[in-house]
């Protein structure tokens, strides 16, 4: 998949744990793990909005397009 999820980097920058983020954005840790591992097929705008709000960042900070 040419879309890379840089959620781990943002979490490290904000010094936040996955579990905390999952609680704030109200999704399960299992789903957050799917998102982090790049196995997710799609991301809802509402989830993206909640992540950006919690990590105080832009969607581009989390998602990156890399040519295959």
């Amino acid at each position: 998949m040419p879309i890379i999820v840089n959620l781990d980097i943002m979490l490290a920058k904000r010094n936040m744990k996955s579990k905390n983020l999952a609680e704030i954005i109200n999704i399960t840790t299992a789903n957050l793990s799917i998102l982090k591992s790049g196995k997710a097929k799609a991301v809802r705008f509402s989830t993206l909005e909640a992540i950006c709000k919690a990590l105080d960042c832009q969607p581009a900070d989390i998602l990156e397009y890399v040519k295959e």
Binding site: A40, K41, A42
Partner: protein
Amino acid sequence: MKRNLILNSAVTFCNIINLIIILMFLGWTFLFVHLQIDKDYYKNKEVNLNNLGFTYSLVSKWKVNNKSLDKDVYEINKIKTTSIYILYLQYSISLILIFLSFKEFQKVLSSVKRIQTFEINNEISFRRIGQYTFVYFLLTSFRYISFELGGLKAITISLTPIIILLLAFIMAEIFKEGSLLKQENDLTI
């Protein structure tokens, strides 16, 4: 509630059919054994290959002595032992295949009851039903019975198994698409 009532009725119907198939198999086995023990009981009982339903049959008969009457040649008690064994195997396997098909259908029904409709297992079940029906179609498409004073062979093309086979494969494709959609939905965060 209504949905469960219909599903429960379908499951009960499948159970009844499976029971009938088991009884048919036992009856068929009894006939197979009895025919070899007491052949005289089947004297004057002629073999009839006329089928009903959406079937096209091509039957050819032959006799050792052309002057002898059909009812004297094609009697059940005059079937050769090898033919009895072939017929027994043919019908037993057919019954087993019908039984297995209903079992697979019951699996699908129970998964729908558990609200796990679009699972990959249902696609596999329908594909299996299609494969079983194909083997059933092949098994029932030919008959070869050898008698002491003659014989008959028939090629039968039955439309019912072909229709069931096609429907089963179409349903398998529908469930495959459904499971892909479900997977995509599950992986949308």
